[in-house]
């Protein structure tokens, strides 16, 4: 049952032009960056910003819209002898998997025909794609959380966009404000903890660690490098990412299971 539903949902997603546009977007951005900069290293660096901004945005918006669009079909299926958890799983995978695949392919393919990557670049690209996938799951989970809780379509999309704004921009604004006002206290360690509370920032910090080590040469940077290279820090960051993937999903699933359609 799961596979039947999943194939159906994936086919449904693939039919949508949005997904193709999504693929083309990453393809064009990566290709453009490679053509403009000429080096894989610089392209990867520029892709950080793109991935950290676009992936959550697309996940949230596309996830929400898709939920609303397939609402009637979901209601229809619910009249059939299908377990809700199975339906939820297939709905989720039907959005998240095609998004991850088009994102990964769109970024990866231009590197292939631009002569591949060195081993070092390959590792960084893998990290970028991995974190992009984590953010996709997180944001699609959040989108489902929003759309199952909110029956009004416009409000739902508005909430999704608001969430994106909070995590991509406002959170950082608050951090900036806090650092500049409390800058005289030793707040570095507290900051690390705060950064764990935002999946976008956490992903960005992990990427910086690998991509832009020079910026991390000061005291704060050194502290931060030590955190991420230590076993406990590594586990904490990994756990935080895992929690960020599972928490919205769990919440959305709980709502979905008990929702009165």
């Amino acid at each position: 049952m799961m596979t039947t539903l999943l194939t159906f949902h994936i086919k449904d997603a693939l039919r949508s032009r949005w997904l193709f546009a999504h693929f083309a977007l990453y393809l064009i951005i990566t290709e453009g960056l490679l053509l403009a900069s000429g080096t894989g290293d610089k392209t990867l660096l520029s892709l950080i910003n793109v991935v950290l901004l676009l992936v959550p945005l697309v996940g949230l918006v596309f996830g929400t819209i898709h939920q609303y669009n397939s609402r009637e079909f979901t209601e229809l299926l619910l009249t059939q002898p299908v377990r809700r958890s199975v339906l939820f799983g297939s709905l989720l995978a039907g959005v998240a998997l095609p998004l991850m695949a088009t994102f990964a392919l769109g970024v990866f393919l231009p590197f292939v025909w631009h002569g591949g990557v060195t081993q070092d670049q390959g590792l960084r690209l893998a990290l970028l794609l991995g974190l992009g996938s984590v953010l996709t799951i997180t944001s699609v989970g959040a989108a489902f959380m929003v759309s199952t809780g909110q029956t009004d379509r416009v409000r739902g999309i508005g909430t999704a966009l608001g969430l994106w704004l909070v995590y991509a921009v406002l959170f950082d604004g608050a951090v900036l404000l806090a650092v500049t006002t409390l800058g005289h206290w030793p707040i570095e360690k507290a900051l690390l903890g705060i950064m764990l509370a935002n999946p976008v920032d956490l992903s960005r910090l992990i990427l910086l660690q690998v991509f832009d080590a020079a910026a991390m040469m000061g005291y704060t940077g050194a502290l931060f490098t030590r955190f991420f290279t230590s076993a406990s820090g590594f586990i904490m960051a990994g756990t935080a990412l895992l929690v960020w993937m599972l928490l919205p999903l769990w919440s959305a699933r709980r709502r979905f299971l008990s929702q009165d359609f």
Partner: protein
């Protein structure tokens, strides 16, 4: 008691002249003692272990391939204590570290016109130590050391109160400081390679009117630091991979009226730190892939940065001051967002190399956490349009559209 002293003395005397078997001509010291001024003393292959050899008359000491002067660790190997001495072709080894003196393989003491060339130094504390030397040529030597901590190492080429030296084409690897000059003026340092040193590749203080050309300083733990000097010229050097929290490709402190031309700064955590330095010309240098291209401190006055290339640095220029007295003219910045409508190769709008973010990081270091976030990008653009915190005068009015050739 007297008897013991006498016996001890006899034993000492008996052990001192260590003669190598197979060298009919005797120790190097004996041969030098037998030589007339301006003679050439040829030393054939073999290992020579003898007390410190003091050359007290002008002569040429020429080692055949395989001539090896090996110390027992506790003393210097060769002292040049007269004018016009030339030493070449030897291998020197076996000088242990000590905290009591700067023990060197070769010491030049109050001498003129010496020439130390084509020698190899291995496992020595200090390599060549010049005190009050004049007009000495240190050329094409290879110096290697494998010290493990900064405090236990000596310098490869060390000059103190000397003038008119030429230090050229030496290969230096793994000392504390590669080339160290103190109170040493009017000298030339050319074509050397100084790498993997535990502190500085090149370090000088109170050394005026010196020229540093075509050297490579790479992978030195603290980079290159130069202080308190007038009228220096640094051209076509490479400063590479000085990597760490307090490592600088080139640190200038209290340097006046000099020029830094056509050098390459590549992959340093901070490429160039300019502090209390005035009236210097920085022209035609390339700053690529560094964390910070230039850190310009408020105490730097009247410096000119022209026709430099900035490429792939995390921060091109950062400063701790809003009012700066240095000029930027016609540099190439890969972060430049302007346009060139009249096609004269110069951008039509000025470039502000100091971003708001770099100012914030300079003030509150933890802000670095927000590096590459959307918020920071937005703030940088806003600040660029309407500067509030960044230095108003620090602009490149006509940046280049392409790197200078």
């Amino acid at each position: 008691m007297v008897l013991i002293l006498v016996i001890w003395g006899l034993l000492q005397a008996a052990s001192v002249p260590e003669r190598m078997p197979g060298h009919s001509a005797g120790t190097i010291s004996e041969r030098i003692a037998a030589a007339a001024p301006h003679d050439t003393v040829h030393v054939e292959a073999g290992v020579y272990t003898e007390p410190t050899i003091v050359i007290d008359r002008p002569l040429t000491l020429l080692g055949a391939p395989g001539a090896h002067i090996q110390g027992t660790g506790g003393h210097e190997l060769l002292v040049l204590a007269a004018d016009s001495i030339s030493v070449s072709g030897f291998t020197f080894s076996g000088v242990d570290r000590t905290f009591m003196e700067d023990r060197a393989a070769i010491r030049v003491q109050d001498a003129r016109g010496c020439r130390i060339a084509n020698n190899t130094f291995r496992g020595v504390f200090f390599g060549i130590y010049m005190a009050r030397a004049t007009d000495c040529h240190i050329e094409s030597n290879t110096l290697r050391s494998q010290i493990t901590s900064e405090t236990t190492g000596g310098n490869a080429v060390h000059a103190w109160y000397s003038t008119h030296l030429t230090i050229a084409n030496n290969r230096i690897d793994g000392f504390r400081d590669g080339i160290y000059l103190e109170f040493t003026d009017d000298s030339r340092v050319e074509g050397n390679t100084s790498v993997n040193n535990l502190r500085y590749g090149l370090h000088f203080m109170f050394a005026d009117r010196n020229a540093y050309t075509d050297n490579v300083f790479s992978d030195n733990r603290a980079g290159v630091a130069v202080m308190y000097a007038d009228g220096i010229s640094m051209q076509r050097n490479v400063f590479r991979r000085a990597w760490g929290a307090s490592a600088y490709g080139l640190l200038l402190k209290e340097i006046r009226r000099g020029e830094v031309l056509n050098n390459t700064f590549d992959g340093n955590s901070v490429a160039l730190l300019v502090e209390s330095t005035d009236h210097m010309t920085f022209h035609g240098n390339t700053f690529a892939e560094n964390g910070w291209g230039i850190k310009l401190m408020a105490s730097a006055i009247g410096n000119v940065f022209s026709d430099n290339t900035f490429r792939g640095n995390t921060f091109d220029v950062s400063t701790n001051s809003r009012t700066l007295d240095s000029r930027f003219e016609g540099n190439f910045w890969d972060t430049y967002k302007g346009y060139d409508l009249d096609r004269d190769g110069r951008g039509d709008v000025a470039h502000r190399p100091v971003t708001l973010f770099s100012v914030l990081v300079e003030r509150h270091e933890p802000v670095i956490y927000l590096h590459r976030s959307l918020l920071v990008d937005v703030l940088n653009v806003a600040e660029r349009l309407l500067p509030v915190l960044t230095p108003v005068e620090l602009v490149d009015p006509q940046p280049r559209m392409r790197p200078p050739l």
